[in-house]
């Protein structure tokens, strides 16, 4: 069973500080995608064990990704299940144009937007409910970091939060984010740019530091 403590994609996007090489990362990404494709092929034949494996592998990452849209646990579970319901139905028609993770993230994103629309929820307002919801067993450092992040993300729109999550959290490229959000790359780039500008202004303040002053970033 794959732990949901660290979603797969996060493990495959190491930082320069942790000593992983770029080649090693690409190899791991390729390996995981190959494994996911095999799982999809098995799902297409009705293999439920493959579905369970894929579900557990992606559950943590999807929940974190969807938590940028809504803070409701019941809704997140419903969206994840809608996503895998579709993946189960469409596994045989996966064309392989993108990585499996990109395909699944795209389905989850669309299911999330649909679920929020059906309930009339606004993801931006919904996100503001995050205060005080952190689990009490968090280490202090993680809780502090999480609070800092939560306050910062409140300054972003839902689309900007999703882009930031996909780029910084999941480690997707702009092309992959565009595929997931079904938006032009230029739009994704603009959302990332504006999100970063906002974060650059609020993150130091939230951390108790003076804001970083830079110009000509466009």
């Amino acid at each position: 069973m794959v732990s949901d403590r660290q979603p797969l994609r996060i493990e495959l996007a190491p930082t320069p500080q942790n000593g992983h090489s770029r080649a090693a990362m690409n190899e791991s990404t390729s390996d995981v995608d190959s494994r996911d494709r095999v799982l999809l092929q098995r799902m297409a034949t009705g293999d439920r064990a493959a579905l369970e494996t894929l579900y557990r592998a992606y559950h943590g990452g999807l929940c974190r990704f969807l938590s940028r849209l809504t803070r409701r646990a019941d809704l997140i579970e419903e969206i994840v299940n809608d996503c895998f319901w579709i993946a189960w139905q469409k596994a045989g028609s996966f064309q392989g144009d993108s990585r499996v993770s990109t395909w699944i993230m795209g389905i989850a994103y669309r299911c999330g937007l649909k679920a929020l629309r059906q309930r009339g929820d606004e993801p931006v307002d919904d996100y503001a409910l995050r205060e005080g919801r952190g689990p009490s067993h968090d280490p202090d450092e993680d809780r502090e970091l999480r609070d800092w992040l939560g306050k910062a993300l409140e300054h972003l729109s839902a689309d900007q939060r999703v882009v930031v999550e996909l780029v910084y959290g999941v480690g997707n490229s702009l092309d992959e984010v565009a595929a997931i959000m079904q938006a032009p790359v230029g739009t994704v780039k603009a959302r990332l740019f504006h999100a970063r500008i906002k974060l650059r202004n609020v993150l130091p303040t939230l951390a108790g530091d003076p804001p970083v002053q830079q110009e000509n970033m466009s």
Binding site: T15, R22, H59, R64, L149, L192, P204, V212, M217
Partner: protein, 210 residues
């Protein structure tokens, strides 16, 4: 911490590639260049530190408690449940519907064509005007010009006595065209009677009109 303001292109380039260096997807030379720039630029170094912290924060598992096993159990139950009849029974298949629509269009075209033919063939109006040439060319038609002072009662009496019916007129010179409605008198007799009337200025057969 020293904050520098660097409006140069290097800072913009550094800003551009920071996310990809953090992802370790930037080219090695970009990574090396950024590290070199960060060593010289305090502002970019501070920004990079913030982005690194942001990435660490975003890498934390979600704080929204969602039980994977519980969700998976619900999903499997959903798969086992009978699939609801979400798609209504289609009474008309798309191919059959297309053929029916085509037939309807053909029937409409035939109907419109029949109506067109009928209208085309029914050009004769259901009314007649006194100026229509066909009326003037009727056999036995006479053209008469009453005196301007002739009373209407005298005009009606004359027509009644001779059993004549006005089919045209008056025209620009005050002439009327009349035909025998059932009179047994010949045209010559009618002309004589008309010409004998003091209130009739002219009486001529239409056929003899030059």
């Amino acid at each position: 911490m020293t904050i520098q303001t660097n409006p140069g292109k290097d800072c913009a380039r550094a800003w551009e590639i920071m996310p990809w260096v953090l992802q370790a997807t930037a080219a090695p030379e970009q990574h090396e260049w950024l590290m070199h720039h960060l060593a010289q630029c305090a502002a970019c170094s501070a920004e990079f530190a913030q982005q690194s912290r942001l990435r660490c924060a975003l890498s934390l598992p979600t704080d929204v408690p969602v039980d994977a096993e519980r969700g998976l159990k619900h999903l499997l139950q959903r798969l086992d449940a009978p699939e609801p009849e979400t798609t209504p029974v289609r009474f008309w298949s798309s191919g059959r519907l297309t053929r029916l629509l085509a037939v309807a269009v053909v029937v409409q075209a035939i109907g419109i064509g029949a109506l067109g033919v009928r209208l085309w063939s029914d050009q004769t109006p259901h009314y007649r005007t006194l100026s229509q040439p066909a009326l003037l060319e009727r056999a036995g038609a006479l053209r008469i010009v009453p005196a301007t002072g002739m009373k209407l009662a005298d005009w009606n009496k004359l027509l009644h006595e001779l059993d004549l019916r006005v089919i045209d007129g008056p025209n620009d010179v005050g002439a009327y065209a009349v035909v025998p409605a059932g009179s047994t008198l010949s045209s010559a007799s009618l002309l004589r009677r008309l010409r004998a009337d003091r209130d009739i200025r002219l009486a001529e057969p239409v056929d003899n009109t030059p």
